[in-house]
């Protein structure tokens, strides 16, 4: 099956007063139709920057190289017209912070409607009708009244639903969800995730879910990409990665998840040390200073991403487990 979104060798750099800071390196990913890929990693691992680059939404001081194709359209070229023709229609994104991601002075109906007017050529009345359907689709209560409200009149969960409605307005083939639940409280998080999973299933949409929460990934993703220090360190089917992680970082990440079945006050497992500063990435494997299995080689030679048996890992000493059930 051909990929709907195909990213090759994406690199993102920021020029700052202190020099050039690499944020993402050699990032490649193929997204199949109807598939959901989870992108996990700590803050600063380059998860969000990779996909903001794909959307052409990076800050002005960023430079991007590589290729990202949505169908026939190259997104990383400098053709703003071509990019604007697919953003908001075939390729949509929802963001981390629903409280600040909606324009404060525009009514909900206008914010949902404008991409319909832009990409589908709907009239204002048609766009209003469609906006109402979309609000109902994302399970906003009292949808009719919400249409004419301003963002500040809505709760955080409600605003994220409106963001999802905006993203879904033109039936995108690919939806990028950048930490869509991080800013919401736990019960709302579960509702939004269930909604996203349901929408993805019903519409056969491909989805990229950027998160630092492996639990979220386990719930809806088909594949997982684990990032560290701006690079992919492990990549594979959800079951393989969660049950038999090969990269020590993935394993440490999994071990640091609190478990509901562990009774008592077992201390939370944490990964020692700090996430690396992208300005001063360690030589060799970026994870080696925090890795329990690190050897001399890890400090000198950066491991390549080795692809084998449907999964990939970038480690000199991957953890091998024969059977995982």
């Amino acid at each position: 099956m051909s990929a709907v979104l195909s990213i090759r060798d994406l690199a993102v750099r920021f020029s700052t007063p202190d020099g050039v800071v690499p944020a993402v390196n050699e990032f490649s990913l193929e997204l199949a139709p109807g598939e959901c890929v989870g992108i996990v990693g700590e803050s600063g691992a380059g998860k969000s920057q990779s996909f903001l680059a794909v959307m052409g939404l990076l800050a002005g001081n960023a430079s991007v190289s590589g290729s990202a194709r949505l169908g026939e359209t190259e997104l990383l070229g400098n053709d703003r017209e071509a990019l604007n023709a697919v953003r908001g229609s075939k390729l949509a994104m929802i963001f981390q912070d629903p409280m600040t991601s909606l324009t404060p002075h525009l009514r909900v109906v206008d914010q949902i409607g404008e991409s319909l007017v832009r990409h589908r050529g709907l009239s204002k009345a048609q766009a209003r009708q469609r906006a109402l359907e979309l609000l109902r689709l994302v399970q906003v209560t009292d949808a009719e009244r919400r249409l004419d409200q301003y963002p500040h009149e809505l709760s955080g969960g409600m605003r994220q639903r409106v963001m999802i409605a905006i993203a879904l307005a033109c039936d995108p083939t690919v939806l990028i969800a950048d930490e869509p639940t991080t800013a919401l409280d736990v019960t709302i998080q579960a509702q939004i995730l269930a909604l996203l999973a349901q929408l993805k299933r019903e519409r056969g949409m491909s989805m990229v879910l950027v998160t630092h929460d492996l639990g979220v990934v386990a719930g809806i993703a088909d594949r997982v990409v684990v990032m560290y220090g701006g690079r992919i360190v492990e990549h594979g089917a959800v079951k393989d990665i969660l049950l038999a992680p090969q990269h020590p970082y993935t394993r440490a990440l999994l071990a640091s998840m609190p478990r509901i079945d562990e009774v008592g006050n077992a201390p939370l497992q944490a990964i020692g040390g700090q996430p690396p500063n992208p300005r001063r990435l360690p030589n060799g494997c970026a994870f080696h200073p925090r890795c329990a299995l690190a050897a001399d080689r890890c400090a000198n030679e950066r491991p390549a991403l080795n692809v084998a048996a449907g999964r990939a890992v970038a480690c000199h000493f991957p953890i091998r487990v024969d059977a995982h059930d």
Partner: protein, 307 residues
């Protein structure tokens, strides 16, 4: 929005009252009176004059009488321009001053906002630096320097506009004064717009608008510019005050028969009613423009309407 507007409008009345009361008593603190100047009048004549104008009454009583007149739209007689009432004097000068001031504010908005927007969109380019350099000059140069300079260049040398003077209905006499008066305001508004637009362009909601694939023009005009104009609108109040005081200078430089001179002459002559009349009119004007700014603010940002 209507309730917000009404609340704002009723808020103006007590403010205006405080302005009137304060200035009424403060003027009287200044030494001397309207009939102390020039030739010394015989005490009996002066007493007669003061009695005729009610100046012999206790101050609180004078104040109440003044307010009573004001409520009926009567600003009282001028003590110095003896054949005129204050209303007549203001009616002579105010239209010219109003036209000058309002045109200057309008021009400042029409030029300042697009300039600031252009500078922000071309941040750190020669266009940006050029606009900002001119803006700094515009703020730094006082109008008693730029005014004569413009009169010299565009009036004397190029002969595009009259150097000075006024004829009713001849708007070309207003061109140079309006430009002179609005230049610092243009500069300030351009700087305000640039700074706040740059900030708004970095917000998450502008990112959302871009993610919708909207053309950049629509992102700016529909999503970014309205919140970016909030500081400009807040500045409208102070801008009005600036234009009012600035018009005193500009009217003098260009020989315009505005009302600004009455404020100065009235204050020097202790022409209490004339000064009070000017204060009431200019105070009311400033409050009205501030009110307008408040209402605009409520329109620009729906969150302001609910407090």
């Amino acid at each position: 929005m209507l309730r917000y507007a009404l609340r704002r409008i009723f808020g103006v009345i007590p403010t205006l009252f405080i302005i009137i009361a304060l200035s009424f008593f403060v003027i009287r603190l200044a030494p001397g009176g309207p009939f102390d100047e020039d030739q010394t009048l015989p005490p009996e004549v002066k007493a007669n004059l003061e009695a005729a104008y009610g100046l012999d009454k206790p101050l609180p009583e004078q104040f109440v009488r003044y307010l009573g007149g004001l409520a009926q739209g009567d600003f009282g007689p001028s003590y110095k321009f003896k054949d005129f009432t204050v209303t007549e004097l203001i009616a002579q000068g105010l239209p010219v001053s109003l036209m000058l001031g309002l045109s200057a504010v309008l021009l400042a908005l029409l030029v300042g906002i697009p300039l600031g927007t252009l500078a922000a969109l071309r941040q750190n380019s020669p266009t940006d630096y050029g606009i900002m350099a001119v803006a700094v000059l515009g703020i730094a140069l006082p109008s008693f320097v730029t005014g004569p300079l413009f009169a010299l260049i565009f009036g004397l040398h190029l002969r595009w506009f009259p150097v000075a003077g006024w004829e009713a209905g001849e708007y070309r006499y207003l061109v140079l004064p309006v430009i002179t008066l609005s230049l610092p305001v243009i500069a300030y508004i351009a700087r305000l717009t640039r700074g706040s637009l740059l900030e708004v362009l970095r917000t998450n909601f502008v990112r959302t608008a871009r993610a919708k694939g909207l053309p950049e023009r629509q992102v700016i005009l529909r999503h970014a510019l309205r919140p970016a104009l909030l500081p400009v609108v807040s500045y409208l109040g102070p801008a009005t005050a600036f234009v009012i005081t600035g018009s005193l200078v500009v009217e003098t430089v260009f020989g315009l028969p505005g009302s600004g001179r009455y404020l100065v002459q009235g204050a020097i002559n202790r022409d209490y009613t004339l000064v009070m009349g000017m204060i009431v009119v200019y105070g009311g004007l400033t409050l009205t423009l501030n009110l307008l700014a408040d209402l605009l603010y409520g329109w620009l940002d729906p969150r302001v309407r609910y407090d």
